[in-house]
Amino acid sequence: MKICIINGSPKASKSTSELLIEYLLTFIKGKNVVTYNVCRADLSKTQFSQIQNNDVLIFAFPLYIDSLNSQLLRFLIELERRGFSNNNITVYCLINNGFYEGRQNYIAADIMKNWCNAVGLTYGQTLGIGAGEMLTFIKDVPLGHGPNKSIGIALQKLSNNILSLNKGEDLFVSPNWPRFLWKIASSLCFWYPRAKENGLKRKRLKDKVN
């Protein structure tokens, strides 16, 4: 089984999508997997050809304004333009968003379904994960345990379907962590410290530009 993973994160630094791909790879060990980041560099003709000739395509990307980021969107349009001579490909998606609720990825999943219809590929399943920025903070917690419990279980279901080329209902999960604590922690542990690194006091984050 040939699997191609498309990392659709535009981030220059390590992204949540990259972390989720690492997680997924532990479930699909031993398979012939190639990964491309389509936001960091233009792909060669050979690389496009490799993407067009697989059994499985997995798109891992972050949610941008309720949908796909513009770079990934351009890439999908380019793939449609080039076409697929081999239509025997099943597509799976691993989407993360910055909001708590994984459910908020459902529109991006629908867009990917529509893309599959446009290019004539089989849509397999999407796993949408909420609180994406939190995942790097809990990366040392084993999957399937503690705050990573639901994510681990969902990744197992997704990879089972990938390995058997089965379709499945879309899955939407959030870390097993209370929403109100996540909301508080997002400010105290993420936004404020990052602003401080840039020499900004907390109140400056609310600056208006006029």
Binding site: P10, Y64, D66, N69, S70, N114
Partner: protein, 169 residues
């Protein structure tokens, strides 16, 4: 001020809409727009402004001054066109990084207090029923995230029909 974000060529746009109101600010594809790189610089480095200086770095500020945003976009798979999506991706500085609960979902708090209307006019020859449904959900979700109370959405399968849909610019 009202804003129009469109992906038509300048020739197409001016041909379709030769008379534009004086208070309209037009955002079109100059070819220089850069992709959002997810750095959150517009939230935690230069709050309110994008760090990518390409002429599209003040989208949050522009939106803060608008009463109505009109989007004219080709529909791709139920999403906007890459250029229009690019502009929207670069507009998150209108919001704050902090969260609030709205409709029992987490969404970002707003940086600015202006209340805007949104009109989205999708066009394309072969927009499928599924794509249309997705686009409707997308615009509705965008309105929740940008706290837009009044919005309008249309679909046109030709530029002639688009011209008839876009009546108030």
């Amino acid at each position: 001020m009202n804003i129009i974000i469109h992906d038509l060529s300048n020739e197409q746009f001016h041909s379709l809409f030769p008379k534009i109101n004086d208070d309209v600010y037009i955002i079109s594809d100059s070819g220089s727009i850069r992709h959002c790189i997810g750095c959150f610089g517009c939230w935690i480095k230069t709050p309110g402004n994008c760090v990518l200086k390409d002429g599209y770095d003040d989208m949050g500020e522009l939106i803060s001054k608008s009463k109505k945003v009109t989007v004219i976009s080709q529909c791709y798979y139920g999403c906007y066109s890459p250029f229009v999506k690019n502009v929207l991706d670069r507009s998150i500085s209108w919001l704050l990084p902090f969260f609030k609960i709205r409709n029992n979902e987490t969404h970002h708090k707003r940086r600015y207090q202006n209340n805007m209307e949104l009109a989205v006019h999708f066009y394309g020859e072969n927009i499928t029923t599924e794509e249309r449904e997705t686009a409707e959900k997308l615009v509705k979700a965008n309105c929740v995230n940008f706290d837009v109370k009044n919005y309008h959405i249309s679909f046109s399968n030709s530029l002639e029909k688009l011209y008839r849909e876009v009546t108030d610019i």
